[in-house]
């Protein structure tokens, strides 16, 4: 093999281990040890609800949603997200998630059993991610219209 190819192979092999290492040592996520302390890996939740309000606060934003129960009553859940500052820098604003919007929450329930969960994956009913624009793919649609077909902005 040429040296370059060998290098690439070695690096790929190395990176498979490095990637894990990056997450664990070089890029520790200490802020979210708190999430392991708050939320229970053995209590996954899947909720479909309507946004009552979103608290644009630090250290973590919270979305309050109303979830219909099978018996017809509703209960209110608090769902924890990340720092709103990241969203604001992407051009997402308070108007991007208005009360009344239907969202789907996949996550884990609080260890104290209360109606709180982390928003591990927040999507709209059509399956698209809330606040589109992850991984630097450019400015998001602002989510104002939950039925809008999501297209990348030019």
């Amino acid at each position: 093999m040429s040296e370059v190819t060998w290098m690439r192979t070695k690096l790929t092999f190395v990176l498979a281990g490095v990637a894990g290492l990056v997450v664990v040592t070089a890029r520790p996520v200490p802020a979210h040890h708190a999430f392991s302390a708050e939320f229970d890996a053995d209590r996954p939740i899947h909720l479909e609800g309507t946004v009552k309000k979103m608290e644009w606060i630090n250290p973590h934003a919270w979305v309050h949603i109303e979830v219909a129960k099978p018996d017809g009553t509703t209960e209110t859940w608090m769902i924890e997200g990340g720092t709103p500052n990241t969203l604001l820098r992407r051009g997402i604003t308070k108007k991007s998630l208005l009360p009344g919007t239907k969202i789907v929450v996949d996550g884990y329930q609080a260890k104290d059993g209360s109606l709180k969960g982390n928003g591990r994956d927040l999507t709209l009913p059509d399956g698209s991610k809330l606040f589109l624009g992850s991984s630097g793919t450019g400015a998001p649609n602002d989510g104002r219209d939950p039925t809008e077909q999501k297209k990348p902005k030019k």
């Binding site: 709103p84 604001l88 604003t93 308070k94």
Partner: protein, 282 residues
């Protein structure tokens, strides 16, 4: 500190007759409190960009942080603190005397006052908002540049950045220290504060506002070591009309003065989380 800026003529032109008028009318509009005669309005030394130099460490005296309205001395809420926990009398800093609450809001204020120890956000080391941050009994530092004026408050390490060149910059969310846009009017730094959360109080006596509050501050050098501070407060949800507080701010002249740390989160953890602490026998 004199600067090398050559535009003394410009500075003089900036100190328009308006300055005298605004200072005089300000002083007229408030109950008899101290202050200096205004025959020769003071002009602060200039920064390199020709503006009044407000840099320094400043602090309010008086009892506005206890109660912005006039009040007699009264006992405190923590018996064990005795005289040192009692509240001194104050002539008040509200121009015209009383805060013009709507009737429902006056009742809410009374509820706040009755419950102040549990309800006052500053007790929990929450950032005090504007204007309360100005007259907390702690120093704060003004760091003045042409584009931004930073105010760093010792209490809770609260900070805010005043944008001097962005009059159209709106805040995308509400914050504890608000969103500040500033401009110069002659000798006066005028700061327009919007987008404050509704959770801060004006003092420890339950005087409050909603998230619609709009504050306009004015900082004017009175002498080398004092500023005159005004804050006009407008909140149609809570008050029947705008109202104003005003007071001097004094330069801290202590030897080697610098802001020290008052990161009070550590001091309130027991208060806020003590009931959730692990008990010894469990």
């Amino acid at each position: 500190m004199r600067n090398r800026f050559q535009g003394a003529g410009v500075a003089a032109a900036l100190a328009a007759p308006l300055t005298v008028i605004s200072l005089v009318s300000t002083l007229r509009g408030q109950p008899v409190q101290s202050v200096q005669p205004v025959e020769a309005p003071y002009q602060a030394p200039r920064t390199a960009d020709g503006r009044p130099d407000l840099n320094g460490i400043w602090q309010a005296l008086g009892t506005a942080h206890w109660d912005v309205e006039s009040h007699a001395a009264r006992p405190g809420s923590v018996v064990a603190l005795g005289a040192l926990g009692a509240i001194p009398a104050g002539l008040g800093v509200v121009e015209g005397g009383e805060i013009p609450y709507q009737p429902w809001a006056a009742a809410q204020k009374q509820k706040n006052l009755d419950n102040w120890l549990a309800a006052d956000p500053a007790v929990k080391c929450f950032m005090p908002g504007v204007p309360r941050a100005t007259y907390m009994p702690f120093p704060f530092q003004i760091v003045q540049t042409p584009e931004f004026v930073l105010m760093a408050y010792e209490f809770a390490s609260a900070t805010r950045v005043i944008y001097m060149n962005k009059p159209d910059f709106e805040s995308p969310f509400d914050t504890w220290m608000g969103h500040s846009r500033g401009r110069w009017e002659g000798e006066t730094l005028v700061v327009d504060v919007t987008s404050q959360v509704g959770d801060t109080w004006f003092d420890s006596s339950g005087n409050f506002h909603s998230d619609a509050v709009h504050v306009v501050e004015r900082y004017t050098a009175m002498s080398p070591d004092a500023l005159w501070y005004e804050a006009e407060i407008d909140d149609p949800n809570v008050f029947t009309r705008p109202w104003k507080v005003s007071m001097p701010l004094y330069r801290r002249l202590d030897r080697n003065v610098q802001l020290l740390e008052f990161k009070c989160v550590e001091f309130v953890e027991e208060l806020m989380y003590g009931h959730l602490r692990k008990q010894p026998n469990k």
